[in-house]
Amino acid sequence: MARSGTLAGPRRRNGMGLARREAMMGLLLVSPWLLGFLIFTLGPMVASLWFSFCEYKVIQPPRWIGLGNYQRMFTDDLFYKSLSVTTRYTLVSVPLGILAALAVAVLLNQNVPGARVIRTIFYLPSVVSGVAVALVFSWIFNYRFGILNYVIGLFGIRGPDWLGRPQWALWAFILMSLWGIGGNMIILLAALQGVPVSLHEAAEIDGANSFVRFWTITMPMISPALLLVTIMSIIGSWQVFTSAYIMTGGGPAYATLFYLLYLYRNAFSWFEMGYASAMAWVLFVIILVCTLLTLRGSQSLVHYEGA
């Protein structure tokens, strides 16, 4: 009795000690992220919430003005403009881009020879994003000497002044966004390849044609991937910056004044840090609402295997 007691004692203590040690080690090793989260995410978010209620022009300390910055948005024509530009861009480029990505993914999933090469080509634009792309496209969209209008001209149509006309400039950016569908396409292609062949075979025996099979088997099976791609695309479309900064600078007549570009100008050209912080929070809320709406709206459409 006594002996077993003394044996069990240290053993249990030792067991608890191990668990404690593991917990300490776990917290220690996770601390880089935790610190980073506090310093570079949570801290700045709280700070920017505070700044958003202040007038803050960097040279003077922040001065509390309550809802002043938010009220200012209601009377700021450029703020409206940037909201409307980005909203229109999102509403057109996201659905178009996803449809195009899905179409290409379906085509590549047909196991034609050379599909791998084509997949590689489609992904390539995602690797060279940014400045190089913006430089190339500024020339491609050139009204008189650009290759795009030349190709359009071959069909006997006179191409518009893409980047010089307010009614066309945003379309140029939408067209450019379609060039970069490769990332979405690869996610959707992976999802398509994950659809079990047995389901298709069973449906085929039951006499379902390929269209019926696509809608009743493929679409539900890839719906989680579609949802993911939709949300990521929406978030991305609210962060268009480099291309607009380089290609148009927001013009002509503010037709490509993307939200982030206007935020950047407020913060770093005019040092309106308070107003820019308020804009950042509005952006955060917009993205949050878009994401939640997409999640809510897709609830009945998305099928989770085994859920």
């Binding site: 992220w33 920017s48 290409v104 992904y123 190089a132 992976a190 950047y264 913060a267």
Partner: protein, 291 residues
């Protein structure tokens, strides 16, 4: 008279129509789209060999005639291209080291160790992947300004040492697939956690680590907004800022040298992509991020 051979022939002809026709259709649809994707690349490379002034010629040519090689040296003469390249490499390589090290440690902790609040913290980590950079951009800038880090590479590199969520997530998912028995055996032999991570898990996780490194390289090499905010003196510029700077020069503002610069700027990413294509695909599919 129908012989068996002709029946067979007709059958095989029908089979060819049935099997081949859809494939032809797939090609007919895919090829114009592929052309649409390739065209800007082809045009970028082609134009980099055109003589000065060809940007304002009609009709535009795909294949340069005459072919000139002077645009590449012209880029080096107009802007300090090598210095910008060195700056970009400093930033990018530092970020890769920081990201791989810190995300490995944190990813290991999430994948293997039990500690209070772990699952909650992991959910928070996933949520932060959704927070757009602009939301924290302004106050982070102010903090770095107070620290007098503006116009140094510290604001661009130091955050990478605090385990960016994308890399942590990717590595954690990978560590979970590595058989636990190996590190249990090492633990019995008296290895501590860091030795298990660095000597057992990381050597086994080369594909995942490569994926993180490749993504980090392209993201930072191409990053424009970060350097634009933080770097003010021209000698600190990264290549992304530098080649945009090229536009403001006489001569450099022409099509051909700009395209030469664009080719040289995107070449490392393209080469890296072809070398590590499978890692790219794996990374995108695991995390849903597009690079």
């Amino acid at each position: 008279m129908t012989t068996a051979a002709s029946i067979r022939r007709r059958r095989s002809a029908r089979r060819i129509v049935r099997d081949v026709a859809p494939k032809v259709l797939v090609y007919l649809l895919l090829l114009p789209l592929t052309f649409f994707i390739i065209m800007p690349f082809a045009w970028m490379v082609g134009s980099s060999f055109k003589p000065i002034g060809s940007g304002i010629k009609f009709p535009p040519q795909f294949i340069p005639n005459p072919i000139v090689f002077t645009n590449y040296p012209l880029v080096f003469k107009t802007i300090p291209f090598l210095m910008y390249t060195r700056n970009s490499l400093i930033v990018t390589l530092t970020v890769i080291v920081g990201e791989v090290l810190s995300a490995s440690v944190v990813g290991y902790s999430f994948a293997r160790l039990r500690f209070p609040g772990r699952d909650f913290m992991f959910v928070v980590l996933l949520a932060t992947m959704m927070i757009p950079y602009p939301v924290t951009m302004v106050p982070t800038f102010i903090v770095f300004k107070i620290l007098r880090w503006v116009d140094t590479y510290l604001p661009l590199t130091i955050p990478a040492f605090f385990a960016p969520p994308f890399a942590v997530f990717l590595l954690r998912q990978f560590f979970l697939t590595v058989n636990r028995e190996l590190d249990d055996a090492a633990k019995v032999d008296g290895c501590n956690e860091l030795r298990i991570l660095f000597q057992i898990l990381m050597p086994l996780s080369k594909p995942a680590l490569t994926t993180v490194a490749i993504f980090s390289f392209t993201a930072n090499w191409n990053d424009f907004l970060g350097p634009l905010i933080y770097l003010s003196s021209a000698r600190m510029y990264t290549l992304a800022l530098g080649i945009n700077y090229l536009r403001s020069f006489r001569g450099g503002g022409d099509l051909a040298p700009q395209m030469a610069a664009a080719v040289m700027f995107s070449l490392p990413c393209i080469v890296l992509f072809f070398l590590g294509q499978k890692y790219f695909v794996q990374g995108i599919v695991t995390t849903g991020l597009k690079g």
